[in-house]
């Protein structure tokens, strides 16, 4: 598998390499807005960026929310702590949909633009991580997915995005969106880089009660499964291209099997109910005086003070807090929140059965990266439906990877492979095998040696 981390570290670099890299990234950032701040100095290690909802000690972590601006965590996320300082060089925090609440990467100030076409969205919520990966040649981004926040932007920006099994990577230091769904993952330009970093950051952490020590397996299967219902509503051009991709895989020795999973489309409302219920409790803590205080008139009474502070939530955050509060409220909990938890059990069981027979393969997104103006005018349900393929593995905590398999009109198209719990290596290796005979394309290569 291709991995340029070791070769980068071993390579002879010109004396001004870091300075040049800094300038190149600075110029690209001015164009694509993928980072939250101008690049300071860059160390000599392999460059890495960090999604803005993951804490890096001493660096502002706002999760791209105005309500958190000025919050400087005095601690590192475990995933960051586990990257050896001598081998990895921090370049900055990446922009995202506020608190991870979004599909397109446009729910924040000065949102990132797609490096393949700046009129198009990057996808979200790990928007800046995908954009940075698409413009910096030697680079990994520590990103995060709740319902598809790694796969989606990886697909739209033509990079490789890996989301591990829930609990395989510690969430300590991750600013919560939905605790039972959030997973720290990795983006890069190769499956090899991802495997290298995954092995560094994964494993049980005494500071995260939900991190586990289960061994990661590689039950590799040559059997690929297409879930027919997931193909509904996918752009025709993508479907045609996906068929060619499947034929190519068959010629490489993979077998393709079609299966159906009843009610799989119900995983979308199931996911949104659980994530909003949890989000509405996680976002309750933002009351404006502890994590970078903004309102200075303490005399106005706590209820007004809190409401004023919480006015700086964006529209999507407000919508989800309200809905989340509603679906977990006393009289309605059984109908929404608890029902959704039971449905999740059902999906886990049904998908696990399927996944024991092979990897689930599909296009990652039902369309190419939409134009920014089109994405912004979609109503919420149409937006949520964009996540129809990324939600099932995310809802159920299955490891999955998205990687480019084609280009249509110059825009990348991503495929997503899903495996069973803790069989993470199988999807990474699958992408690695694909990379052996398919060249990813990029318009920018900052820091190329």
């Amino acid at each position: 598998m291709k991995c340029d981390i070791k070769s980068f570290l071993d390579a002879e670099k010109p004396d001004d390499y870091q300075e040049r890299l800094k300038e190149e990234i600075g110029a690209l950032n001015a164009k694509f807005h993928m980072l939250t701040a101008a690049v300071n100095s860059i160390g000599s290690g392999f460059p890495f960026s960090v999604k803005d909802n993951i804490c890096v000690k001493g660096v502002e972590a706002s999760a791209s929310s105005r309500i958190l601006s000025g919050y400087v965590p005095p601690f590192n996320a475990t995933a960051i702590e586990r990257l050896p300082k001598e081998s990895f060089a921090f370049i900055g925090k990446t922009k995202m949909d506020e608190f991870g609440l979004g599909t397109f990467g446009i729910n924040c100030d000065d949102h990132p633009l797609n490096p393949f076409d700046e009129k198009r969205v990057t996808g979200g919520s790990s928007a800046g991580s995908a954009a940075a990966t698409a413009v910096i040649k030697h680079h990994v981004s520590i990103a995060e997915s709740t319902g598809g926040s790694i796969s989606c932007p990886a697909s739209f920006c033509g990079v490789v995005g890996f989301t591990p099994t829930y609990g395989a990577v510690s969430r300590y230091g991750l600013i919560d969106y939905a605790n039972s769904l959030d997973k720290i993952g990795i983006m890069s330009r190769s499956a090899g880089n991802i495997k290298y970093v995954f092995d560094l950051i994964r494993g049980e952490d005494p500071r995260d009660s939900t991190s586990v020590s289960t061994e990661i397996s590689n039950r590799h299967s040559k059997n690929l499964i297409v879930i027919d219902q997931l193909m509904d509503g996918i752009d025709q051009r993508i479907l045609k291209s996906f068929d060619r991709f499947l034929s190519k895989l068959q010629s490489l020795g993979y077998s393709i099997e079609h299966r159906s999973i009843p009610f799989i489309e119900k995983s979308i409302p199931t996911y949104y109910i659980i994530s909003m219920a949890e989000a509405s409790t996680n976002l309750a803590k933002y009351t404006g005086f502890k994590y970078g205080h903004k309102i200075t008139d303490f005399s106005k009474g706590y209820n007004d003070f809190f409401s004023d502070a919480r006015d700086s939530f964006g529209m999507e955050a407000k919508r989800r807090v309200v809905l989340g509060t509603f679906v977990r409220s006393a009289g309605l909990k059984g109908r929404y929140y608890e029902k959704a938890l039971r449905l999740r059990s059902m999906f886990i069981e049904k998908l696990s059965e399927t996944l024991s027979a092979g990897l689930i393969i599909s296009p990652t997104m039902p369309s190419l990266a939409p134009k920014i103006k089109d994405a912004g005018s979609l109503d919420p349900i149409a937006t949520y439906s964009m996540d129809s393929i990324t939600i099932p593995p995310n809802l159920c905590g299955f490891p999955h990877i998205s990687f480019p398999f084609d280009y249509i009109d110059g825009m990348p198209v991503g495929a997503q492979a899903v495996s069973g719990h803790f069989n993470d290596y199988s999807v990474i290796d699958f992408a690695g095998e694909w990379e052996e005979q398919f060249e990813y394309k990029f318009n920018y290569n900052a820091g190329a040696l």
Binding site: F298, K300, S345
Partner: protein, 90 residues
């Protein structure tokens, strides 16, 4: 959502909306709840709730006190008055 209920939920979660935002959000919410209601068509009563996607073994910490290394770093995020964090009036 019934009349008046949205106002109560907003008060509960300390969210203020302008009239325009209110109109927009209340329309969205009705549509989204209608969408959420589609899960009622699926029978899943025989399944236990999955609070997390995987089984998490219990993790317990030994009762040993240990000081956090950067208390000033914590307090830098607030307004401080004589070692106390300043909060709104109650």
């Amino acid at each position: 959502m019934e009349n008046g209920y949205l106002e109560r939920v907003l008060a509960t979660c300390r969210i203020k909306l302008t009239q325009d935002e209110f109109n927009k959000i209340s329309k969205d919410i009705d549509e989204i709840l209608g969408y959420f209601d589609t899960i009622s068509e699926t029978d899943c009563d025989s399944y236990d709730p999955a609070f997390q996607p995987i089984t998490i073994p219990p993790k317990l910490r030994d009762d040993k006190a240990d000081a956090f290394g950067d208390v000033p770093g914590l307090l830098k995020n607030s307004k401080i008055y004589r070692f106390y964090v300043v909060g709104p009036k109650v």
